[in-house]
C-alpha cells in the first residue's frame, strides 16, 4: 500500500437498489498510466466521482498518498494533488481562457478576503503565476485566445483548456474521463502523446477512462475492466484483449 499512490478498498456506492460500484478494490502505483474500460453504465464515472469527492461512498475506504480521503470534501482532495477532468468539460463559461487557467492555481494569497483588496501583497505572486500560465498556454496554442470567453472556444479547445488548466496546479494524480471523446483524431493522438510525455517528464500519474482502445493501449501500463459495478479483469493490455470475460461484456465478438 505504501508504494501505491491511490488505493481503494472494497468501495461501494448504490443509487436506490442499483449497486453502481460494488466492492471495488484497486491500486494505482506512482508514475503509472492506468486505464479503466467497460461498457456504458458499468460504473466507471461513478468510481471517478467517488475518488474525486463529487460523491461519497456508502462503504469502503479510499487512500491517497497514505491518507484516508473518502470523507474529505473535494477541495481538500485537490489540495493533496488529485485532479479530475470531466467527460463533458466543466469549464467556467463566463470567464476568459486566462481566468479559467489562473483560477486553478493553488495557494494564491489574493484569494483571501482580507488580503484581496491590498494588491501590493499578492501582485508578485500573481505575476509569477501569470508567467507560468503563459508558458503552459503557449504550449497548448491557446495563448492568443487568452482574453476570449471560454464559451466561445471550439469543442476541442474546450477539452484542451480543461486539461491545461489543471496542469498548472502541480497535481500528483490525474483522473481523466474520456479525454479522447469528441475530439478530432489528430488532436486525440496529440493529447495521449502529451499524457505519456507528462508522465515521463513530470512524474505524474494518470487514471484514464477511454473507449478508444487503440489510443489507450499504446500508453497504459495496466488496464482495469469494469462491468455492472465490479472489476471483472485487470492486467496488461495484451492480456485484456484475450480475456474471455472482457470479450463477452465489452469488446464483443
Amino acid at each position: 500500500m505504501s508504494e501505491s499512490l491511490l488505493y481503494l478498498q472494497e468501495v461501494t456506492k448504490s443509487f436506490g437498489g442499483l449497486k453502481a460500484v460494488n466492492k471495488v478494490s484497486l491500486k494505482i502505483p506512482e508514475k503509472s498510466i492506468i486505464g479503466l474500460i467497460g461498457p456504458n453504465g458499468s460504473g466507471k464515472t461513478t468510481l471517478f466521482n467517488l475518488i474525486s469527492g463529487v460523491l461519497y461512498p456508502d462503504s469502503g475506504q479510499i487512500f491517497f498518498r497514505g491518507l484516508r480521503i473518502d470523507r474529505m470534501p473535494p477541495h481538500e482532495r485537490f489540495k493533496l494533488g488529485l485532479c479530475y477532468a470531466f467527460q463533458i468539460p466543466r469549464i467556467f463559461r463566463g470567464m476568459t481562457v486566462l481566468e479559467n487557467t489562473m483560477v486553478s492555481l493553488k495557494k494564491q494569497l489574493g484569494e483571501q478576503f482580507l488580503i484581496a483588496p491590498f494588491r501590493r501583497k499578492w501582485i508578485n505572486q500573481e505575476v509569477k503565476n501569470a508567467e507560468r500560465v503563459l508558458s503552459v498556454l503557449e504550449d497548448a496554442q491557446l495563448v492568443n485566445l487568452y482574453d476570449k470567453l471560454s464559451s466561445e472556444l471550439s469543442g476541442g479547445q474546450i477539452k484542451l483548456l480543461q486539461l491545461v488548466r489543471t496542469i498548472t496546479s502541480e497535481p500528483k494524480l490525474f483522473l481523466l474521463d474520456e479525454p479522447g471523446a469528441g475530439v478530432a483524431p489528430s488532436l486525440a493522438k496529440e493529447i495521449f502523446r502529451k499524457i505519456s510525455r507528462l508522465r515521463d517528464e513530470e512524474d505524474l500519474t494518470f487514471f484514464i477512462i477511454e473507449h478508444r482502445l487503440d489510443l489507450l493501449f499504446d500508453i497504459v501500463d495496466k488496464v482495469y475492466v469494469m462491468n455492472r459495478g465490479e472489476i471483472i479483469a485487470e492486467g496488461r493490455p495484451e492480456e485484456i484483449i484475450e480475456n474471455s470475460k472482457v470479450k463477452e461484456a465489452y469488446l464483443g465478438g
Binding site: G53, F92, E99, L109, E111, E126, V127, D147, R165
Partner: protein, 357 residues
C-alpha cells in the same frame, strides 16, 4: 442655485448613495457569486431596525428620558437633545452604523447555511419569504420599533447645524462617501484572485470545488460582507428619513435593487452604478412632478411602477446583459498577457521588416 434645487439635489444624492450600496452588494452576491438574493430588503431593513431599536434606547439611557420610547413627547425630546448634544449624537450615529454592519454580517452568516443547501429558485423564494415574515413580525411586535406605528425622533446626525442646506448637504456628502468607499472596495476585491474564485463559483460550483476552492467559505464571506453593507445602507436610510416604519420595507426595495442590477449590467459594477443613477432620477424626478401637470387616468405615483416595468422589459428584450455588459477582470495577470502579446506582435513586425530588407 436656489436653495430648493440644492435640497432636491442633495436628497437625490443621498438616495442615490443608498441605492448604490444596495445594488453593488447585490451585484457582489448575484453578479459575481451567483447567489440570487431575493431577500435584499430584509438585510436592508435589518439596518433600519437596529437603528430604530438602538438609538432611542441609548438616548433614553444616556439622557434619562422618562417618557415611554414610543410616545410623541419622547420623540420630540430626542430631536431637541440631538440639537443640544452634537458630540453624543455623532457617537451614537457612528455606533449604529457599526452595529448595523456587525448584525448584518452575523445574520448574513446564519443565512449562508440555507444558501449552501438550496439552489437557485428555491433560495430566491426562501429569502423572499424570510424578508416578508420579518416585516410582519416587526410590525406586530411592539417592543422592537413600536409595531405598526413605527418609531420616530431619530435625530439626523447633522441636526445641530443651523443652516438647513448645510445640514442636508453634509448628510448627503457623508452617504456619498460611504457609497464611494463601497464601490472602491468591491472593485478592489473583485479584480483580484478572490473575484476570480467568485466568478468560478457562479459559473460551476462543483468544478470550482474540484479545483480546490472552499465554496462554503467563499459564499459565507460574500453573504456576510454584502449583508453588512445592506444593513449599513438601511441605517443611513433610517437616519435620513428620521423614523423607522416596518411597512416601509416591502418587497419593492428588493425589486428596485434587482432592477438597478439588470439595467446597468449584471457583473459590472460601473454599470450597476449607472443603473442606480437612472433609477434614482426617475424615482425622485417623478415625485417632483405635481399631479396637475399631467392629466392621467390614475394616480401619479403608479406612473413610477409603470415606467420601471417598461424599462425592465425593454432592457431584457434589447440589451439582456445590461447597459454595460460584464467584462473580463482587470487582474495583474491580464496585464502580463497584454504586454506579452504586444511584444510578440512587435517582434513579428520587426522580423518581417528585416526579412524584406
Amino acid at each position: 442655485m436656489s436653495s430648493e434645487l440644492i435640497t432636491l439635489l442633495s436628497t437625490t444624492l443621498t438616495f442615490f448613495s443608498i441605492y448604490v450600496i444596495l445594488s453593488l452588494s447585490l451585484n457582489l452576491e448575484y453578479g459575481f457569486t451567483g447567489i440570487p438574493n431575493f431577500g435584499k430588503v430584509f438585510f436592508f431593513s435589518l439596518g433600519a431596525y437596529v437603528t430604530g431599536t438602538f438609538v432611542p434606547r441609548v438616548m433614553h439611557f444616556l439622557f434619562q428620558i422618562d417618557e415611554p420610547i414610543c410616545s410623541a413627547t419622547a420623540s420630540t425630546k430626542r430631536i431637541v437633545l440631538g440639537i443640544q448634544e452634537p458630540a453624543a449624537l455623532m457617537m451614537i450615529f457612528i455606533m449604529s452604523l457599526i452595529l448595523s454592519g456587525i448584525i448584518g454580517a452575523v445574520v448574513g452568516y446564519i443565512l449562508s447555511y440555507p444558501s449552501l443547501k438550496l439552489r437557485g429558485d428555491y433560495l430566491a423564494i426562501s429569502l423572499l419569504i424570510v424578508a416578508e415574515l420579518c416585516r410582519v413580525f416587526v410590525r406586530t411586535e411592539p417592543s422592537i420599533v413600536c409595531g405598526t406605528n413605527g418609531i420616530g425622533g431619530l435625530p439626523n446626525p447633522f441636526i445641530w447645524i443651523e443652516d438647513a442646506i448645510t445640514k442636508e448637504v453634509s448628510y448627503s456628502t457623508l452617504s456619498a462617501t460611504i457609497a464611494f468607499l463601497t464601490y472602491f472596495f468591491i472593485q478592489r476585491i473583485v479584480n483580484s484572485p478572490y473575484g476570480r474564485v467568485l466568478k468560478s463559483i457562479r459559473d460551476d460550483e462543483l468544478a470550482s470545488q474540484l479545483l480546490g476552492k472552499d465554496v462554503k467559505k467563499f459564499k459565507s464571506e460574500v453573504l456576510m460582507f454584502a449583508s453588512s453593507l445592506s444593513a449599513i445602507a438601511g441605517c443611513l436610510y433610517a437616519f435620513f428619513i428620521g423614523f423607522v416604519y416596518p411597512d416601509d420595507f416591502i418587497i419593492v426595495w428588493t425589486m428596485y435593487a434587482w432592477l438597478m442590477l439588470l439595467l446597468g449590467g449584471v457583473g459590472n459594477n460601473r454599470g450597476v452604478v449607472l443603473g442606480s443613477l437612472v433609477m434614482v432620477m426617475i424615482d425622485r424626478g417623478l415625485r417632483r412632478i405635481p399631479s396637475f401637470w399631467l392629466s392621467l387616468p390614475f394616480d401619479i405615483s403608479y406612473l413610477r411602477g409603470i415606467i420601471f416595468m417598461v424599462l425592465l422589459l425593454v432592457i431584457i428584450m434589447y440589451r439582456p446583459r445590461g447597459i454595460f455588459p460584464e467584462k473580463p477582470l482587470e487582474t495583474p495577470a491580464k496585464k502580463v498577457f497584454e504586454t506579452f502579446i504586444r511584444n510578440s506582435l512587435k517582434f513579428k513586425k520587426n522580423n518581417l521588416i528585416n526579412s524584406s530588407e
